[in-house]
Point group: C2
Chain length 127, copies 2
């Protein structure tokens, strides 16, 4: 269990990986589409996705030649409990969360629209 926390927290420590999770909050995505907004090789993103997988933060399912990535928010539960125990923080402030989303997505003024559009452009592989 402390092993789990190690993996979850260190997965979250990288801004690229947090941005990926944020993108997946919108919708499931193919590996190539996840990689698209980053200035980084596909192989690098593939490694990041492996880290997120091993931490249990996402799952991956191959359909055809496309591998779909899905957010698994339950993996954050233990870590969230751990953290909140320290402060007994007031109830979640969703406005604050919205600000994080805006701050962490890779560039792009309107992240929501773009993410959806990107998925759509190559959506032909989906059953």
């Amino acid at each position: 269990m402390r092993q789990d926390l190690d993996q979850v927290f260190s997965a979250l420590a990288d801004p690229t990986r947090r941005a990926i999770l944020t993108m997946l909050l919108e919708d499931d995505m193919a590996v190539t589409d996840v990689a698209e907004p980053f200035e980084m090789s596909l192989a690098a993103i593939s490694k990041h996705l492996t880290v997120l997988m091993q931490a249990g933060l996402i799952s991956q399912e191959k359909r055809g030649r496309v591998k779909w990535c899905k957010l698994e928010p339950d993996a954050l539960k233990d870590a969230s409990v751990w953290m909140q125990g320290f402060g007994q923080f007031e109830p979640v402030n969703l406005d604050a969360f919205e600000r994080f989303l805006a701050a962490e997505l890779p560039e792009q003024p309107d992240a929501t629209a773009t993410a959806t559009a990107t998925t759509a452009t190559t959506g032909d592989d989906r059953p």
Copy 2:
């Protein structure tokens, strides 16, 4: 701000550092006393404390020749908001947190008693 999250999450990714935070939940502690339960050099603990400092998770104050370490749980606020946004988890389950505490403290069957006792043995330096 994403810089802050980087530092907070990567600070939390190490079990030694999480254990230190857990100990400090009990009470403020001198560096030497923090180091005592770990099988690791004092210098190593000193480095861990520096990491926790830079993440804002603790503060340190030197009184005499003793440097006191104090938990700063507010630093967890942003990170906690970030995480909870993903799952909208139900209110904190304090029992679950207690289990984490037990699991993460360095060995010792009765962590609570020992931590307090350790502080007391060298408590002579406190004003």
